[in-house]
């Protein structure tokens, strides 16, 4: 009994109903993913909340930086405030020296938080093979102290 192979029948050249490319014999349907909501004219995804992976990465990075700033700012404010108060009231030179070091380190963290706050472009830099967020500001952009701290 003869077995009919449907797949081999689809390879017939000239059968327009099979959606084959007659030149390359490729099935055109392989490249067209019909499950996605992609607009064929603009190439954009019409479904809300969907988009290019790069867009999601950018939004994720911005949300992460905003979250870090938001979560860390309050405890750091309290620490910096009390360190300032201790520096103003302490009379022991030995204690003052240590407090100055703590204050310097807190200022570094404060600057990092400031940089995180102003992140609006997604830029990474290589750190020993690992991509980390580049938050370094351009040195020629000097803002007025009052504008930066208090509007």
């Amino acid at each position: 009994m003869e077995k009919r192979n449907n797949s081999s029948k689809q390879l017939d050249i000239g059968d327009r109903r099979k959606a084959f490319n007659r030149r390359t014999l490729d099935d055109r349907r392989i490249t067209a993913d019909r499950r996605t909501g992609r607009d064929r004219r603009t190439g954009r995804d019409r479904r809300s909340g969907w988009g290019k992976i790069e867009d999601h990465l950018l939004r994720g990075a911005l949300a992460a930086t905003a979250s870090i700033v938001f979560q860390f700012s309050r405890p750091f404010t309290i620490i910096i405030g009390y360190v300032d108060l201790l520096l103003a009231s302490s009379r022991e030179e030995h204690t003052k020296e240590k407090l100055v070091i703590i204050k310097e380190q807190l200022e570094i963290i404060s600057e990092i938080l400031d940089n995180f706050r102003e992140v609006d472009t997604f830029k990474t830099k290589d750190f020993d093979g690992v991509d980390i967020l580049d938050t370094n500001k351009l040195l020629d952009v000097e803002e007025h102290e009052l504008d930066r701290k208090i509007l």
């Binding site: 938001f70 910096i80 405030g81 360190v83 300032d84 706050r117 102003e118 009052l146 208090i150 509007l151």
Partner: protein
């Protein structure tokens, strides 16, 4: 040189830790400070006594900032209003640019930033009182 002594400051936050620290700094500067932890207590204080500056936290849960500031303005238009904030400045400019918030102070801040804020607020408050 501005005389910041006896400047009345009202601090409003839902959590005590931050405003207690700020109170200590403000007392050291020479200000008289009151602490409140809810909106009603805040309005009650403001109706009883004249304040030069109100500092409140943007992160107070359930607080309608625009409504709160509008209410402050109805009590005393000449009083300076400062908000403690964390997010980028453009967010606040867009959202509260037209509200009555006079100053934003970005966390984390310390003694110097509070001193700067109080000086600016005092000058601003003086200007408003002279103009009225």
């Amino acid at each position: 040189m501005l005389n910041l002594i006896n400047m009345n400051v009202l601090l409003f936050d839902s959590q005590r830790d931050q405003i207690v620290m700020m109170k200590e700094i403000l007392n050291r500067i020479g200000c008289r400070v009151s602490l409140v932890m809810n909106e009603y207590e805040c309005f009650a204080k403001l109706t009883k006594k004249r304040y030069d500056l109100v500092i409140f936290d943007h992160g107070i849960s359930g607080l309608d900032v625009t409504g709160f500031v509008a209410q402050l303005e109805t009590i005393d238009r000449r009083m300076s209003v400062a908000m403690m904030v964390t997010l980028p400045s453009r967010f606040y400019e867009d959202k509260y640019g037209c509200s009555g918030v006079d100053f934003l102070i970005f966390k984390p801040f310390g003694y110097n930033e509070i001193l700067l804020l109080v000086r600016e607020a005092f000058q601003y408050s003086l200007k408003l009182r002279k103009a009225s």
